[in-house]
Amino acid sequence: MYSYTGKILHIDVTNQKTHVQEVSADWLKKYVGGVGMATRLAYDNIPAGSDPLGPDNALCFACSVFAGTTMPVGTKHGVASKSPLTGFIGDSLSGSHFSEMFRHAGWDGMVFKGQSPNWVVVFIDDDQVQFLDATRFLGMGTTETQQAIREWLGDENIRVSSIGSGGENLVRYATIDNDGRQVGRTGNGTVMGSKRIKAIAVRGTHPITVADPQALMAETLKLIKTSQGPSTQKYRVLGTPTNVLNMNKMGTLPTRNFSETVFEHAEEVSGEYMHDHYTQKAVGCSGCSIACEQWAAVKEGKYKGAIAGLDYESLFALGPNCGIGELPPIIYLSRLCDDLGIDTMSTGVVVSWAMECYERGILSKEECDGLELNFGNDEAAGVLIEKIAKREGIGALLAEGTKRASAQVGKGSEHFAMQSKGLEMPGYDVRGMKTFAAGLAVGTRGSCHNRSLAYELDVKGTVDRFKAEPGRGKLMKEKEEFAAVFDAMVLCKFLRNCFDDFWKDASRIYTITTGIEMTPEELEQLGERVCNLKKAFNIREGWTKADDWLPGRVLGDPMPSGPGKGIFVTPEELRMMIDDYYAARGWTSDGLIPRSKLVELGLEDIADEIGVDEPKPAAKEA
């Protein structure tokens, strides 16, 4: 067995005890790494019904198979826990030098449990684990913390994952930051904060060996070449902000809390405009051959000095979605969120929800601590974001996320709380992308574009995006499983069009890396296994069919302008597509997993706990 170490490090921060779990090649092949392995670790280590912010929740890290090798865009890691935002599986990924280092330290995965009495920095120095007093780092920004810890420990090679004020103060959508990249969604930083772990520092000194280095290097050279080609051009040249104008043209650019779909200032916040006026440099994650992250800097005006690696999702959420039509404040706000350690996407959608509440008179100026929270008020947004991270005044309400905040405020504000399962929506107005609408509704971690990938079908015109029809369920399933394979290996999805034959190429590369035989068919099954395992976690946490749903705005408010003017997703359409999806998955009409399906996927050990006996045929149309 190569690349893998076969060892998972368990750390209990309550009593500062550690133990090592040995895992077999069969187990590793089944879950591979990243989100796959992290989800299995979460399933095994989090008792059903655990408080996400309590000691029983487990924060599970899993390395990419390719971490620290030349395999392009393969140096990433996955993290999973029970999400404080959704109450379901909270899995997230980050590109990083961090994953490489924890593989060098000798670990395929790390599981953090318990709750430390005092704030700690957990320092993993190969197989030695130290718990260091973190008091001096409290309140420090994420990037500053990482540098300060390296200086403190006296070694520039040390890699650090840290939380900011957001995680310390248990904002439900806090991030874990490493080298300016984030484990961003579903609040894994909150879980880390609840355990009073300010940072995890790792130093590893073991070389990483692969089964056939020459073959892996040859594959690398091929992929480096294809990843400079047309399939990645949009990422390399403009980065993901190139989506702004595309989405605007399609009439699916979420504007002013998803109330509008076309933004009058789209040009001024476009990837093209950013490239010409603000972009300084493209930066890559470790082992990246693409470099999508466009670092933009503001050189004059009130936001002079602001600098951020800005991607489309952060840009949409903090820009058009908040009615902000120029780049300098967006660059500033994005970096502010990163430094405070809160998810730019959830934050943007929470702020926009508060702005709509303010404009509708649901939240008064007094309730907003004197802030005039009109759409477009970038200064107020900045103050609000700092309040959220500190849970100060109205920030305490908004730190709960849109689902909880709207339930508390009421007055119809649930209708425009743009979330599913509690996770705030990504930058696509799904009223004009109906396959993707259903894809977001069934997402195990809540509404997420990266896990669903169904937007590709609507954007590329594979299907009629304004129509809901039977057959979409199967397409959604395929996209989801394709995404799950990338998330488990881990490979960045921006490489997805660089292969001749993905299943053949990726399974071969897995084998030359690990020495473990993997067929294309087995790799396809991995995707299905990971999707079902995540669902199994949710079922054990009490998931019901009603949890797979979308906010009222998507299901009732016609789009006011653009190519899809007048269109929305009807509840009947959504129901039909979701049922179609359950049927395509071989699940019951209630969305539960038959025992036989779990056995088929090699998950027989959880079949008794999760599986249902008689698969009822899914109803086609209610």
Partner: protein
């Protein structure tokens, strides 16, 4: 041959994306395993956008050679690279201290100093250059780069002048 300086690995910081592919490729080439600590080229990133890769610059008057108390370091007559005599080197680290660029590696396993040898033993030349996805690395002398820079700037200026008409 009237050459100013030796060819060495030069990194263009405007092209470097900080991916560290060069470190992975170097260590795999030299040790058959991936271990940046043994890479003879290292990427330095000063947050957030300042980054470049550094390896041996083949200094004309190399301080590492002068510093070595056991005369283990010599200059290759073939390409000017600093050669380490493994029998003589005892891993004392004087060369590491003498190098202004942090380009000398002390290998904890072999207990030897290790320095970029420009991959003289590799058919395709330096592997870091070959694996750099953004063509930020090149094998060149400073003089060659200077010539290139002059040509590029003049070409750009004239292009701008012509476009303005």
């Amino acid at each position: 041959m009237a050459q100013i300086g030796y060819q060495h690995i030069i990194c263009d910081p405007t092209k470097c994306i900080g991916c560290r592919m060069c470190e992975y490729a170097c260590s795999a080439t030299k040790t058959n395993a991936f271990d940046p600590n043994l890479s003879r080229i290292r990427v330095v990133r000063i947050e957030p956008i300042t980054m470049t890769a550094i390896s041996c610059r083949l200094c004309a008057d190399a301080p590492c050679i002068i510093a070595c108390p056991r005369d283990a370091l010599t200059r290759s007559e073939e390409n000017g690279a600093i050669l380490v005599d493994e029998d003589k080197c005892d891993g004392c680290g004087w060369c590491v201290e003498a190098c202004d660029f942090g380009a000398v590696v002390l290998n904890p396993v072999t207990r030897n100093a290790e320095i970029c040898n420009l991959c003289v033993d590799q058919e395709e030349g330096p592997q870091c250059v070959r694996f750099c996805p953004k063509e930020a690395l090149s094998l060149a002398t400073p003089e060659v780069l200077r010539q290139q820079a002059r040509r590029e700037v003049v070409a750009r200026l004239f292009e701008e002048l012509l476009n303005e008409k």
